[in-house]
């Protein structure tokens, strides 16, 4: 779909021009994770045990940071109604915007997560599983998050409400993301967990755009 590529391209161009969103998300991720070695002390056993959970919780929170402006900026300057009037189904627009959001914030998170895993002393067996789980989990975070972003697009200080709405929906990603890495570390089969993550990702692709588009229609009224 060419029109989708046009929207993804514009959002990436905007993200590159502003630059701050990607850097902010990454900085938040890095700082949150590096707090744990300081807070938990240098005992390597403790850190390694906590590593999968710490990485995922930090990723979840970081994914929220750039979410509140996902639709708000376009709603405020009239772009969103113009995009809606282009005749493109809003569901596809949502898919394009979530894809751009993931490329500019989710993918960088995946890229730095092995480095942060190193600082947490994650056992060597866990790295591949961590990257695979993050690759499946973070797009789901962008998609699920888009529902909250659309619901709070009209609110001036929607950020906190957005977190409250979206974090409970992130729980399955957190639970299975951590389980995937833990399974790899304890040399159990990783495949079933990855398949569940894949199912979650497919479910998010199939359902989130409809919910988000419905919320956007309300916001546009």
């Amino acid at each position: 779909m060419k029109a989708l590529a046009v929207i993804v391209y514009r959002d990436l161009l905007l993200a590159a021009r502003q630059g701050s969103a990607t850097l902010l998300v990454l900085a938040f991720f890095v700082i949150t994770v590096t707090l744990f070695p300081l807070g938990l002390g240098p005992a390597p056993g403790v850190l390694a045990l906590a590593a999968p959970g710490v990485l995922w919780v930090a990723a979840l929170l970081s994914a929220l940071i750039a979410l509140d402006r996902l639709f708000q900026a376009d709603l405020e300057d009239g772009s969103l109604e113009q995009i809606a009037l282009s005749g493109l189904p809003l569901e596809l627009v949502v898919l394009a915007k979530a894809a751009a959001h993931w490329l500019s914030t989710g993918l960088p998170l995946v890229a730095v997560s092995p480095l942060l895993a190193l600082t947490l002393n994650l056992p060597a067996d866990g790295y591949l599983a961590l990257i695979a789980a993050m690759l499946l989990g973070t797009p789901a975070l962008s998609l699920i998050g888009s529902i909250g972003a659309a619901l709070t697009a009209n609110l001036r200080r929607g950020g906190v409400l957005l977190s409250l709405l979206v974090l409970p929906l992130y729980l399955p990603v957190l639970i299975f993301g951590v389980l995937t890495v833990e399974a790899a570390v304890s040399e159990l089969a990783v495949r079933p967990y990855l398949l569940i993550m894949l199912a979650g990702f497919c479910g998010a692709v199939a359902l989130a755009p409809w919910a988000t588009a419905a919320a956007l229609r309300l916001a546009l009224e």
């Binding site: 905007l14 502003q18 300057d77 009239g78 109604e81 009037l85 282009s86 189904p89 009224e221």
Partner: protein
């Protein structure tokens, strides 16, 4: 081929803005909306753009209710509202190229920039533009998309005399090629092919 409103009513919040509104608009004709603030000029334009839903009555294109095929109606219209829909960190050309690609798949924007005399600003980020220059960039969107129906909500806001002339010329050209224009304005626009619709008289009575 006519655009027609039948017993159209609009309610915003709890307030009835207008009711029983009727008009029809043929190819090559313009409808100018006049009336005091709050008379429903913007609301009527948003109804025609399908951004609002009528409280009663319907709007038809060739006898078919526009809400029966939203996507088709949306593809034949171009709407310029109060907001300029420009991204502050993109240049004028980048902004227009985006709307052009979205509407037609092509990205030829320099003729549209010429029409409104903003070619020299093509590579300037829109955050550095004046209000009038931004408005010209927003209006240039009309020229990159080839829409049959133009819906213009006070397009002349913050335009200078030269800008007004360019706008009139563009509207005349749209009418000559058989397009339709509905425009809310406090200025005089158009010629003999223009019908004036006064809003707000009934509401005040």
């Amino acid at each position: 081929m006519t655009l027609q409103a039948e017993a159209l009513a609009c309610v915003r919040g709890e307030r009835a803005v207008f009711a029983g509104l009727e008009f029809s608009l043929g190819a090559g004709h313009a409808l100018v909306l006049k009336g005091p603030n709050g008379a429903g000029k913007s609301s009527l334009l948003r109804l025609l753009a399908t951004l609002l839903t009528p409280a009663a009555g319907r709007i038809t294109w060739d006898g078919v209710d526009i809400r029966d095929d939203l996507e088709r109606h949306r593809r034949r219209l171009a709407y310029v509202g109060h907001q300029d829909a420009l991204k502050a960190n993109l240049t004028v050309a980048e902004n227009l190229r985006f709307w052009s690609r979205l509407a037609t798949g092509r990205a030829v924007v320099s003729p549209a920039l010429d029409v409104f005399g903003i070619s020299a600003l093509a590579d300037v980020p829109t955050r550095l533009l004046s209000a009038g220059q931004r408005r010209r960039a927003a209006l240039a969107r009309l020229e990159v998309a080839t829409a049959e129906l133009w819906l213009l909500d006070e397009p002349d806001a913050s335009l200078d005399d030269q800008g007004l002339e360019q706008l009139s010329a563009v509207i005349d050209r749209q009418l000559r090629r058989g397009g339709r224009v509905v425009v809310a304005t406090h200025h005089e626009i158009g010629d003999a092919s223009t019908t004036v619709l006064r809003l707000g008289d009934a509401a005040n009575a």
